[in-house]
């Protein structure tokens, strides 16, 4: 294999794809080598259940972490909620803010276009978006106007390219893209908490998880727009 020689066994982390920027930065400062395999939460959960050589897993969906626990894949290892994220409504750059919209306001702002978001049942961001829209009684009206994607980034791209008029994505995604503007940040109580649960699967993973809870790491996450959760010690 044309892989560079590793001084010592690296820590292998399976992490939700949206964590890439922050996690890569943190991994660089960790004294031991770290490799991170990014992917979709469902896929990774299955891989872990089928024996993937992960020391630590960080998912974007508590449901899948629950599933992993039910599968017995976590054994008696510790599970923590590592990060939070926010859901935002976005539009093309320069669009007027749309605070606290209801169904009518959203339909109006769509102007016959579509609202891009993650798949309502499959992608965590889609699940949260649906919860918000259902909560404000707008789901049924908006359902015919959705463009659902297999990951949030694709939803963001649809808005950025002007294909979709509005989108619902994570704040972390919206922050970095200049071709979209955040029209409104959905209050956290309008949807189940957006948390990134993590579970160590080995002692090495445990150590790295502890590192993620340290101040430097938390700062890095914050720089990327995530909201660290105080580790329950």
């Amino acid at each position: 294999v044309p892989a560079r020689a590793q001084a010592q066994d690296p820590v292998t982390v399976f992490a939700a794809a949206s964590l890439r920027g922050a996690l890569d930065d943190i991994a660089r400062t960790y004294p031991a080598p770290v490799v991170v395999s990014y992917g979709g939460s469902g896929t990774m959960a299955r891989q872990i259940a089928l024996g993937a050589p992960a020391d630590l897993v960080i998912l974007a969906s508590p449901d899948w972490m629950d599933w992993l626990r039910d599968q017995g894949a976590l054994a008696d290892r510790k599970r923590v909620d590592l990060l939070r994220n926010r859901l935002v409504l976005i539009g093309p750059a320069g669009a007027r803010p749309l605070p606290n919209p209801d169904a009518a306001a959203l339909l109006d702002a769509l102007q016959g276009g579509r609202l891009a978001m993650g798949q309502r049942a499959a992608v965590p961001a889609g699940i949260y978006a649906r919860a918000w829209l259902a909560g404000i009684g707008a789901w049924d009206a908006l359902a015919p106007h959705l463009a659902e994607t297999d990951n949030v980034r694709a939803a963001l791209a649809l808005v950025a390219r002007g294909e979709a008029t509005l989108g619902v994505v994570y704040a972390t995604d919206a922050a970095a893209d200049t071709s979209v503007d955040v029209l409104w940040t959905v209050p956290e109580d309008r949807h189940p908490p957006i948390v990134y649960p993590a579970a160590a699967l080995s002692d090495a993973g445990d150590a790295f998880l502890r590192h993620l809870g340290m101040t430097d790491a938390r700062d890095t996450f914050e720089q990327h727009g995530f909201l660290p959760i105080e580790p329950a010690r």
Partner: protein, 230 residues
Amino acid sequence: MTLDAASWDALTLSLWVSVWATVLAVPLALWIAWLLARRDFWGKSALNALVHLPLVLPPVVTGYLLLLSFGRTGPIGRLLEQTFGLVLSFRWTGAVLAALVMGFPLMVRAMRLAIEAVDPRLEDAAATLGAPRWAVFARVTLPLIAPGVLAGAVMGFAKAMGEFGATITFVANIPGQTQTLPSAIYTFLQIPGGEAQAIALVLWACVVALGAVVMSEWLARRVARRIAGS
């Protein structure tokens, strides 16, 4: 293997999209295959490379490129909308385009191999009997490459039934409009405990696409038997 209404929609939509993609792609693929097999022209290598592109690129990238060029704001997309009123993004038509593009290299290759295997001396013979070039193609080349065309069409159809990445990136996943079978399968796979429904859909996909494979084999065998004369 009973399906809920949404899955049923996804199945029929996938069939519809795949049939359209196949029907539209076959003549075009045939033409390109013929050009690549029989003509020499400037830019042939580039055309050949372009045809292979969807094979080389991760499907998501292909979908993204489609979005850039055939989306409402993309150059071709805008042109299509202005001149023919044809909108591709978020429509089943876009799913057809994605499936067509992804299956195209497979079709062209199969047809090209078939064309290259035709003895040009038979085409010469047809010309001496007075047949103009298009008639030579229609009455000699085409029947002789029928098995290859069929093979290409079936591969394109099968690919269209299984296409996921480019489709969802280009036209998203709108139930009843762009949610094809693979999108539906993917959705189920992302839900803890969704495997059972995913498996039902996978089985349906297999039944349809493999049915097409088996039927095409049977047709190709008939053609071959006629040529062998038994």
